[in-house]
Symmetry: C2
Subunit: 336 residues, 2 copies
């Protein structure tokens, strides 16, 4: 495939105040970069949009520096190698790479994860077979002690992390209740992902509904949001229940550090554990070997919210951070 001289890329036009707006980004024409020593040139296929990018834009995300105004928006993508002097990574190979929001990227070979397309559709390497899936698996298997018959709750229930976490909890024999925003998402949690129930936190009486759906209390909670959802679940937690703290979606937008009242944590003798997926990267092959067959035979399902073309990324990110996406947010940048 011939490589053009110029491409489109998306740069940060302004640091978002609250929910990111499309106007916080700008599409530019730029040169396709040259691959330097130790790098290969890749062509972006699917760009992954993830809530953590919002905290990167606030300069708050572990292991990521905040981009300058005018600089390339960071992000992860599936891509095809188009120029390479490395025989172990030939042209035509498929990888996951930190490409940023652009069509072509020169990326360090050492940073790439090779993807076997026979495992599953390529885009799953960004979702259920990628970092979101690994996050869910690490939380469920390494940071919780789930047993058959326990009641498990997860927020952001049909997102990449939440939907996988809920399905894995079902594999462990748990009763699984999701929490999501809106009737459509809640219906999908049940119909598509097989959750036992899903509560719409936008309902005024969502706590009553959660209570009714978990009559013997909540044994384990996988929290992706913080805020009033976490506090409401804590009220319904059993004494001695456990919570994995995985994300703070509310805080990502507001910028106000979310703080959890501690008296109920003591009162519930709760155990809270922080989860950062980067700690589990070495266990990715183990996760992939476990999950890829289940994805192929649809025992583990996923849902993608696809938008078309790099220029749609700013609006798609706005939709993601305002909870309008249905499933893992992906921008189709180039031919598969």
């Amino acid at each position: 495939m011939s490589v053009p001289n110029t491409q489109h890329r998306v740069v940060v036009a302004a640091f978002p105040d609250g929910i990111p707006q499309p106007t916080d980004f700008r599409v530019e024409e730029a040169l396709v970069p040259d691959a330097e020593a130790g790098e290969v040139l890749v062509r972006v296929i699917d760009l992954s949009l993830d809530p953590y990018l919002r905290s990167v834009l606030s300069g708050r995300h572990i292991g990521h520096t905040r981009p300058e105004i005018g600089a390339l928006m960071p992000g992860r993508a599936t891509a095809e190698v188009v120029r390479s002097d490395d025989a172990t990574l030939p042209v035509g190979s498929h990888v996951v790479a930190e490409t940023g929001w652009q069509q072509y990227a020169a990326v360090p070979r050492a940073s790439l994860r090779r993807v076997d397309r026979s495992d599953a559709p390529l885009s799953t390497a960004l979702g259920i077979l990628g970092m979101p899936g690994l996050t869910a698996w690490a939380g469920i298997t390494q940071r919780m002690s789930l047993h058959r018959g326990k009641t498990f709750v997860v927020s952001a229930a049909i997102g990449g992390v939440g939907s996988t976490a809920g399905q894995l909890a079902r594999v462990h024999g748990c009763r699984v209740i999701g929490i999501a925003g809106g009737a459509q998402k809640c219906a999908l949690a049940v119909s598509h992902f097989g959750f036992d129930a899903c509560i719409d936190y936008r309902d005024n009486d969502w706590e009553t509904r959660l209570h009714d759906a978990t009559p013997s209390g909540i044994d384990a909670y996988f929290d992706n949001t913080g805020g009033r959802i976490l506090e409401g679940v804590l009220r319904q937690l059993v004494v001695g229940g456990e919570i994995v703290l995985c994300g703070l979606i509310d805080q990502y937008n507001t910028g106000v550090p979310y703080a959890l009242p501690l008296a109920p944590v003591i009162g519930k003798r709760a155990t809270l554990r922080g989860l950062v997926v980067y700690d589990f990267e070495s266990q990715y092959p183990e996760y992939l070997a476990f999950a890829a067959p289940l994805v192929r035979n649809e025992q583990l399902r996923y849902l993608e919210d696809r938008s078309n073309g790099l220029t749609s990324a700013p609006l798609a990110f706005h939709r993601l951070m305002s909870g309008q996406n249905i499933g893992k947010a992906i921008v189709a940048v180039g031919e598969p």
Copy 2:
């Protein structure tokens, strides 16, 4: 010993606003109550003052109802049985009982814990061999995974819970750093309790000092306070470190529910566990069998802040809740 007809008792005159003041209480003359069926009459020897009583006065403490204005102030004490029709609990027996702040109390037999005075001085049944000691032991042995060479930190370091927790962590081979208010308390943490160091949180640069005292980070933290002390320790926690949440002394006075920013908890991959001592009452005999010999041979030490006479209780409670006590706060009410 003859029992008088009247006695003194302390009632709640007003619900405290902030730190309890002596004027929030009133000393009254009252009748010595009659023991009814299932009760014995006890004479109070030493009254225990504990921070949890502050949250009882706010109506916030697990398992305790808030006393009415004009009602007896609740509290726990060592006492001697002076009237009993129960041959298994004869006159002259020593017990720990929920007597309230008075000289004589009629208490349900089933609620009493018999104390063997040959174990150690009677007042230790309120401190290191009582609920504070059991709290410390439960936190250290049941809610943490301490190992030789780890760095352990405890706040309210020379209080009943904190001083015992620090000594037990040393028994586990940990390096032990206390946090306390004032130079005198810090000196005692080292000289009397054998801590490796103690940081005065009233120093402006206490966090720097804590950092210098824990050069490889804090592995485990026993929190009795919440607030800025917890947040400062969290900043110095190792990745994957653990915290037992045992008390919220700050909040007890302010009445403002303390909330902990969660992003640092995730960033540190911390594990937080709430501790409530009542869960471990059935393990009290195990704790006593372990700790009593160590107290007798002074491998476990304690420190008491004694004030004399029931009428001194309101001021002593004010001193406790404003951090002026040195050691376990006890009011000597009657002859030992």
